[in-house]
Symmetry: C2
Subunit: 298 residues, 2 copies
């Protein structure tokens, strides 16, 4: 048996039907890979690549624009085997940041590479590059112009007049038939961001965590809230120390986030038994899952 959950962000989501259709197509592909014996880490990378390549999600192509009108990308991946992890932040021109994160995990002696140095590493390992024009969509330019003229820097993926509509990040968690867990998260961050702001997505223990002995977690939402509560590790430690299932730990983790920092976020969790958990403190979350053969209702 195996399990897979993928998500496309949290918030108030106007085009949910359309996003869910996309999620379910990718979910089906990923589930078939798992059924054919693919590893959890291959499947979460694959699903996140598909979400990065789809301009409707805030990761890879179609990401939100920073203060300078550019796309800067963050991603992280973790394998439950030996707590191996790779992460990158503030990179430009890399088609699939999640593959860069995986290459860092497997080919470097480091865990976290940022900025121009990470881009150099990507170049020396043959990661696919794309020109700026590939990433920037007209919808994002409109959104960025609206944010700039309003002087707003923290809204994400929002439409005009709505300052907290959707926190776009994508992610995937999986358990494969060998009992291995993996998690992956990727994002373009927040609209009109400045000051080299890094959120939770590339931070091991915050936006992503996986340990074969407990669970795999991918988080999305207001990055600062997730960073301060170290949310993914918090959830994994509830499984470890309190013996919770994925759903119990997801719910308790989100309760803790709300109680401690009045936080807005959502999480997807798969535990070592393939059980699934989803919880969020925002109005809605776009996700889909297949858990030990059973498709989750969304």
């Amino acid at each position: 048996m195996s399990s897979l959950i993928i998500h496309g962000g949290v918030g108030t989501i106007s085009n949910k039907k359309e996003l869910l259709e996309k999620i379910h197509v990718i979910l089906k592909e990923g589930s078939e890979m798992l059924s054919s014996g693919a590893s959890a880490v291959d499947v979460v990378e694959y699903c996140v690549i598909r979400l990065e390549d789809d301009e409707f999600f805030n990761a890879g192509k179609g990401s939100v624009l920073n203060e300078g009108g550019s796309v800067e990308l963050d991603a992280a991946i973790m394998s439950g085997d030996f707590l191996m992890a790779g992460a990158t932040a503030g990179v430009r021109g890399i088609k699939n940041p999640i593959s860069l994160a995986r290459t860092i995990m497997e080919k470097s002696e480091h865990v976290f590479l940022v900025g121009a140095g990470a881009e150099d590493f990507a170049g020396s390992h043959g990661l696919k590059k794309m020109p700026d024009s590939y990433f920037v969509t007209s919808k994002r330019v409109e959104q960025w112009e609206a944010a700039k003229s309003a002087g707003v820097t923290t809204l994400d993926h929002a439409e005009k007049g709505d300052s907290e509509k959707k926190y776009g990040t994508v992610g995937a968690v999986a358990l494969d038939d060998k009992g291995k867990l993996a998690a992956a998260t990727s994002t373009g961050g927040i609209v009109n961001k400045k000051f080299g702001r890094v959120g939770d997505s590339p931070i091991i223990g915050a936006g992503v965590y996986a340990d074969n002995n407990t669970c795999a977690v991918s988080a999305t939402g207001i990055g600062e809230h997730i960073l301060r509560t170290v949310l993914a590790k918090d959830i994994a430690d509830r499984v470890r120390f309190e013996g919770m299932t994925a759903q119990e730990a997801a719910q308790k983790g989100i309760d803790y986030l709300v109680e401690q920092v009045d936080g807005k976020a959502g999480v997807i969790v798969i535990d070592k038994n393939g059980k699934c958990g989803v919880s969020f403190s925002t109005p809605d979350m776009v996700y889909g899952g297949v858990c030990n053969g059973i498709t989750m209702e969304t």
Copy 2:
């Protein structure tokens, strides 16, 4: 009652006596501040500023040099009040990165700012800048030249021919007389580092964590090991979920690090009752502490 522990790194330490003398001078100053009613966050910032300003420690002035022969600094601070946190990585020319981290915590809406953006933020908030020449010492130039000619990128603070002598980072944890905890960590990273590598020091939950309900933690050692185990949060969760004291949690956290990733690191921990914990998997650690009025033996 109040408690304070400060550290100056782990490894095999040849000049321990000299470093301990410096640690004890700063420890005395910090303890007097706490006795006079200073807040934990003020005291950990003060102690780390003193360590950054001393060129014998790998933080601020006298930091190790990166691949380009420059000093790039990382730091983070966390207040146990409401899990407030600030962090910065890859900044140049900022005299006291720990003060930048605190300014990010208090004056920005973000938690983590990196690189040129963080330097811009520092400039707009009046943080003191210094020219490159201030940070670079002749000892570090010699060390860097040796590392470059040996093609080594991961050794830190080591002397010639010794690839893992000392992992330099500085840190402080404190409990003040109002029951508030704080933690701070600062580093120049690893000798001859490249690719925009970020270690554990500026990562909330890895190199630093503080929660008034559990404990304050500062970690040092091989950053990748600390990142993969999310060590500071791991220790805090042992206090929270297993009811451990600072010493029990420090020891179990280091045991976990060794067992999971064969990790090399050290931690200083103060719990909400002012009890102290120190543990390390390296040959030695430079630290000093005053715990509920009693000076720790080192």
